[in-house]
Amino acid sequence: MLKRILAAAAVATLLSAPAGAQQIDGAGATFPYPLYAKWAEAFNGQAGIKVNYQSIGSGGGIKQIKSKTVDFGATDMPLPADELKESGLVQFPMVIGGVVPVVNIRGIEPGRLKLTGPVLADIFFGKITKWNDKPLVDLNPGLALPNQAIAVVHRSDGSGTTFIFAEYLSKVSPEWKEKVGASTSIKWPTGLGGKGNEGVAVTTQRTNGAIGYVEYAYAKQNKMAHALMRNRDGEFVAPDSESFQSAAASAEWEKAPGFNLLLTDQPGKKSWPITGATFILMYQKTDKVNASRQVLQFLDWSYKNGGAIADSLDYVPMPPKVVQMVQQTWRTITGPDGKPVWVGAAGM
């Protein structure tokens, strides 16, 4: 008898557990994963809602949200407005990141090498093959650049980092745009492929005369030797949160439907030219009102309280101006009855 009561009690607890614990599911880009995971943990502690984010890659995130297996998708490569409309999705930027060219040249101190967009494109085209080729020497009159072959290092896996980098090269080099283009993986004209940020970083650090590109947080945490880039205003800038925010703030988000805006080569004296954002995808008209509301609650909490966590992980929060615009967009997300699922933090 006692046994039976215990068993019944056990079954009851098992059944009630999923109902009691609330969970929302998301999947997508790997780049913001460390940040989303930290935010999710802190948010769960405060709101009691578990956020389960799987970092399966931007492509996977787009597929999962389109097949409605998750409550939100995440991508580093924004979808164009017509594709959003076609699949009934809304898209908004969540956090800013930058891509940093890193180098390994004997005798050159970190942060001394100056590059321009067209020169960077020519290096990744394999047209500039030695560190003492004329365009590099002309840009860096004070540096003793060695007579060393350049080893180009790129990502071998598909990545939002590659997309941002290639998109920048497409903007500054018409030839790159025509012959290579921009996507999460591209047909590289030359170079070695490393898997992940760590693959590119290690290959760059272990190969003499190498140049690669990695995501900013990764470059900073590993104290990699970055290069200075000339931005659209003609200034040479270093990659840091200030120069990323400057690029994000200078961008004309108002004119980009679906926030389909790339932050590369933005105006502004301080703007870092190879800046990008990572995006969230949700359904405009949702069947799961409760889950969508909780997703927005999580994202709202992250905008408001996640800044410190983002800073500690070297991600750059969105400027307040953009956050306000995103929150306007949230009000257009409706349930099956046409009522908005989220009406501001007060509504939760």
Binding site: G60, D157, G181, L192, K195
Partner: protein, 326 residues
């Protein structure tokens, strides 16, 4: 009376027991058959899934898929030639290096080694086989590749790079990472497999044959060449094929050191890619359907290559067993 009753009761119990045993037997036989069939079903399922997934790419690119080097995710143009080439060339390098060394190891252990050294060497080879491939990859990237870039590659480029006929294989700047390094890592990885199969088949040579040859005054080399080798030829081929199968499909270690570039270079020091490395790298972010389908088609090609290698290996091992039986 009571005796008869007891005995018939006993018989009934025996009969019941035998019948139930028979039922258990049948259930057991069916159960195990089911588990065995599961393997066939799984294999069939994998083939169906691969063919189904690869169909769009094969329909679009047709046979051109096999002979095109182009791999452009931006324009959605895909061809499998570069990964097929990389897979075959890295495996060929691995075999060229691993087979003679394995042969030497196996021969030393079975014919020449002092008995006290047999166990340690045998155990070391088995331990080598147990190291996870990612460890080889990390070691290759952190230790082997920089070492090759600084020492072996400049030397080879200077000495062999200008030779007529083969010079093009050793041309270009020393990058450390590339097809050659991948082949080298693969050689180290398949070596224990080939060596231990070879050791086993060498040990299967009847002592009588060898001792007769020694009795006739043959040297160790003559015994190996005229007795051991002919006797174990197909077994050795089986071992080599098993090693080749592993080299063809190896993923992580190769991905780390091959440079992952969808291009075919004459030089072995240039970066390349293999089928499995391309799959490991690109699956997660294959955004368009045709891209994904092309990757699955690559998987199908790899499946066919390794499948035929393993079938060959099985056939050769069978020939060896038949040879032993007669």
């Amino acid at each position: 009376m009571t005796g008869i009753a007891a005995s018939s009761g006993f018989e009934a119990r025996i009969g019941y027991w035998a019948r139930s045993q028979k039922r258990y037997d049948t259930a057991f036989r069916l159960g195990t058959a089911l588990f065995a069939l599961l393997v066939l079903v799984l294999l069939g399922g994998v083939i169906v899934a691969l063919v189904d997934g690869a169909a769009p790419a094969l329909a679009k690119f047709k046979l051109g898929f096999l002979v095109t080097e182009e791999w452009n995710p931006v324009t959605d143009e895909f061809g499998a030639l570069a990964p097929i080439y990389g897979t075959l060339v890295t495996s060929a390098i691995a075999m060229l290096i691993a087979v003679p060394i394995s042969f030497g190891i196996a021969l030393f252990i079975t014919e020449l080694c002092p008995p006290w050294l047999k166990r340690p060497i045998g155990t070391a080879i088995e331990l080598l086989a147990g190291i996870p491939s990612i460890i080889y990859g990390i070691w290759g990237l952190f230790v082997l590749a920089p070492l090759l870039q600084e020492t072996a590659q400049p030397l080879l480029i200077e000495s062999l790079g200008s030779l007529p006929g083969v010079g093009f294989l050793f041309a270009g700047p020393p990058l450390g990472i590339g097809v050659f390094t991948a082949g080298l890592i693969l050689a180290i990885m398949v070596l224990p497999f080939i060596a231990s199969v070879m050791r086993d088949v060498f040990e299967a040579v009847p002592a009588l044959l060898k001792e007769s040859a020694y009795g006739l005054g043959a040297t160790t080399w003559e015994v190996v060449w005229s007795v051991v080798l002919p006797y174990t030829r197909s077994g050795m081929m089986g071992g080599i094929m098993l090693g080749l199968g592993r080299a063809l499909g190896e993923t992580m270690a190769v991905t780390f050191v091959i440079g992952n570039a969808h291009r075919i270079h004459a030089s072995l020091f240039a970066p390349g890619t293999t089928i499995s490395a391309a799959l490991a790298n690109e699956f997660a972010e294959a955004t368009t359907d045709i891209y994904l389908s092309s990757l699955v088609a690559l998987g199908l090609i790899l499946f066919l290559i390794t499948f035929s290698v393993l079938v060959l290996a099985k056939l050769m091992l069978q020939r060896l067993q038949r040879g032993l039986g007669t």
